[in-house]
């Protein structure tokens, strides 16, 4: 039962969870390699949280299984737990305990030896900068600080696998950046991380991602590979009237899809379509444009394409 370095750390085999008749996740099968930063990406309700709960052993699967370090999480969830850390989406620490009390509580639960503890906590404080707040109640921390505390409690036993459910949700941009820096450091030290996010810019930081929609796998690959596989060329149209432009282009034969991106419009060209055809169509409708440029598809473009594709089929 001692997996060699080459074996995947997490292997999902038809992992399925139903709540009554509703299917939360269906037949998930993929593997996460050691020291990989693995992203689970999808909109709300895609099944990200359910997937992580199933992996963490706090929710039993309806069918299928996941092996973590070769151990079945369906059959022996308790044997898996000492080696992993799970950070729920909702802040799960005790708000009426101080920062230090929370950390020591989790250190006790994971049986971190006393003599190693001071050293580890010091290291955790070095990245979290929570040291000066040791005696502050966790409930009195800011959102970003809370997440760093949660991460500290998760890391105090040096898990080999980290399961994080939207760790940057509701966190300010600077703390978000800090958190991702920490995750990259952890991966560099050999920790495997499975992280869910609904921010696609974050997903692009992952080694590989799985795109989930309504409980099913839409795509599973490296972000760059997914972007490269994007069908057709992509244009970004800058215009003062993006909504009118979208409505005009939606059914145009040169256009496969037109999607609003903030103040811009992303236009995916149909086979045979060209930027000139798009410009002509907008000019014919008297919609002023401030530039039409070809761009590389982002993960968000890929995601929209895949979701729309699966909705049609």
């Amino acid at each position: 039962m001692n997996p060699t370095a080459g074996d995947p750390v997490v292997v999902l085999e038809g992992l399925t969870r139903r709540f009554g008749t509703a299917v939360a996740v269906a037949d998930l099968s993929f593997a996460v390699e050691r020291a990989e930063l693995f992203g689970i990406v999808g909109p709300d309700g895609a099944g990200k949280t359910t997937t992580l709960r199933l992996l963490a052993g706090v929710l039993p699967p309806t069918s299928g299984d996941a092996r973590l370090f070769g151990i079945s999480v369906a059959r022996e969830p308790e044997r898996v737990k000492p080696q992993l850390a799970y950070m729920a989406q909702r802040f799960g620490l005790y708000e009426d305990l101080t920062v230090a009390e929370n950390i020591h509580f989790y250190a006790d639960l994971y049986r971190v030896p006393r003599r190693e503890r001071a050293d580890r906590i010091e290291r955790l404080h070095a990245f979290s900068r929570l040291g000066e707040f040791s005696d502050r109640l966790a409930g009195a921390l800011s959102g970003g600080m809370k997440q760093k505390l949660a991460l500290s409690c998760a890391l105090v036993h040096r898990p080999a696998l980290l399961l994080l459910d939207e760790p940057t949700f509701g966190v300010d941009p600077i703390s978000r950046r800090d958190l991702w820096l920490i995750l990259h450091e952890m991966v560099a030290e050999g920790v495997t991380i499975v992280v869910s996010t609904s921010y696609l810019d974050e997903a692009e930081r992952c080694d590989r991602v799985v795109l989930l929609d309504r409980g099913r796998v839409l795509a599973f690959d490296r972000p760059a590979a997914l972007q490269a596989a994007f069908p057709g060329r992509l244009l970004s149209v800058a215009t003062a009237e993006p909504r009118d432009a979208r409505d005009r282009l939606r059914d145009h034969p040169a256009v496969a899809r037109a999607t609003l991106f903030g103040r811009n419009l992303h236009v995916q060209l149909a086979p045979g379509g060209s930027p000139e055809a798009v410009a002509a169509a907008l000019a014919a409708a008297a919609i002023p444009t401030e530039g039409i440029v070809a761009i590389e598809p982002s993960l968000e473009d890929v995601f929209i394409d895949r979701v729309a594709g699966s909705a049609v089929s």
Binding site: R53, G57, A85, Y94, D96, E101, L163
Partner: protein, 373 residues
């Protein structure tokens, strides 16, 4: 399998949270004492100073003697004298009198003639318990008065005389019965209420999901949470016993060590029951309500605290077998008033061992480290 460090961590964490929550602390330490004082003073079965209105149509010396006999008994207090017997209704309706005694005009005459001399007693039966007791007192006073009249001047020895003596509570103070029983009733409720919150609160706040992902064993969670409440329960019982002895003047004749051992068993069961409810309901509001219903009424009505179990209907009598307060009440009353030891209370001890095992077992079997089944 159980790890002492994890167990201690759970207990410490729970205690810190309790300590910082004013509401929990009030529920743990203030409420039990308040209930004890409140019920201890409010509940009494001693019927004294029954308000009596008298309509004396006779007005003679014998009638006065009879009224005097009622007054000097200590059970009745004459609050008004009525001129017309028709006023009796008004006195009872207005609640000014609990009983009305009407002495007929020929009362003295009949007595002197050696004839039966009936006296009318009207009782407010809306409180049946008090009315029955008052009737008993009145009967006793009247018949003694009758004897004295018949035997006026002559002394004879009755062939059979019952010399009764009441043991354990010679003055028949109801408080001596109530206070030890109250300890059991109050602790049944408080113990279950305390732990009913603990697991449900963690599910509601989302801390249980995090805890469930750690290697902590579910028995470590249940037992670790139990420890601080066990300490609280012990302090509560100790304070209640001290209040019983020093405030209510109830004699404590038995062995304190035995009381402590029995209390331990009882508390484990009662706290376990609360935790079972908490684990099953997963909602603080629901768990509190269920714990209240599951403990309050049975402990009050089916424990022998208010009503004698022996005189209950068969079905209710059978139901009392699963009311833990019933056994603990026998223990507290036995140790307080009778000073009995293990030889008299071993059956109650066994019942409470079963109860403790059941409470803990149910809690451990119901609590799962799972968000959904």
């Amino acid at each position: 399998m159980l790890d002492p460090i994890r167990l201690a961590a759970m207990a410490r964490k729970e205690w810190i949270q309790l300590r910082r929550d004013a509401r929990s602390m009030a529920l743990a330490f203030v409420l039990p004492l308040l209930l004890l004082l409140f019920f201890g003073y409010a509940i009494t079965w001693d019927v004294r100073d029954i308000r009596l209105a008298v309509h004396d149509a006779d007005g003679g010396a014998d009638a006065r003697d009879l009224i005097q006999a009622f007054e000097s008994s200590g059970y009745f207090r004459v609050v008004s004298r009525l001129d017309r017997s028709a006023d009796a209704d008004r006195e009872l309706e207005a609640g000014r009198a609990l009983a009305v005694m009407a002495i007929p005009p020929d009362f003295g005459e009949r007595l002197r003639a050696g004839e039966p001399a009936p006296v009318q007693l009207l009782l407010d039966g809306s409180d049946a318990n008090t009315a029955t007791i008052a009737l008993g007192y009145a009967d006793a006073i009247a018949s003694r008065f009758g004897q004295q009249v018949v035997l006026r001047g002559v002394r004879i020895d009755p062939p059979v005389e019952v010399a009764s003596r009441v043991w354990y509570n010679p003055e028949l103070r109801s408080r001596n019965m109530i206070v030890p029983g109250l300890v059991a009733v109050i602790m049944s409720i408080i113990a279950a209420m305390l732990t009913a919150l603990t697991i449900a609160r963690e599910w509601e706040r989302g801390t249980m999901e995090q805890l469930a992902a750690t290697p902590v064993h579910r028995l470590e969670v249940v037992l670790g949470k139990l420890v601080p409440y066990l300490g609280i329960g012990f302090v509560d019982v100790a304070v209640a016993v001290a209040a019983g002895v020093f405030i209510f003047d109830v004699p404590l004749r038995g062995n304190l060590l035995l009381l402590a051992a029995m209390t331990l068993l009882f508390l484990i069961g009662a706290l376990g029951l609360g935790m079972f409810i908490s684990a099953a309901m997963r909602s603080q509001v629901l768990a509190t309500q269920v714990a209240m219903i599951a403990t309050y009424l049975p402990a009050l009505l089916l424990s022998g605290f208010l009503f004698d179990i022996a005189s209950m209907p068969v079905v209710l009598k059978a139901a009392t077998a699963i009311v833990p307060a019933r056994y603990y009440i026998t223990v507290t009353r036995g140790i307080f008033l009778k000073g009995v030891g293990v030889e008299a209370l071993w059956a109650q001890g066994l019942a409470m061992i079963v109860f403790a095992a059941a409470g803990l077992g149910l809690a451990a079997a119901t609590f799962r480290k799972r968000i959904a089944p």
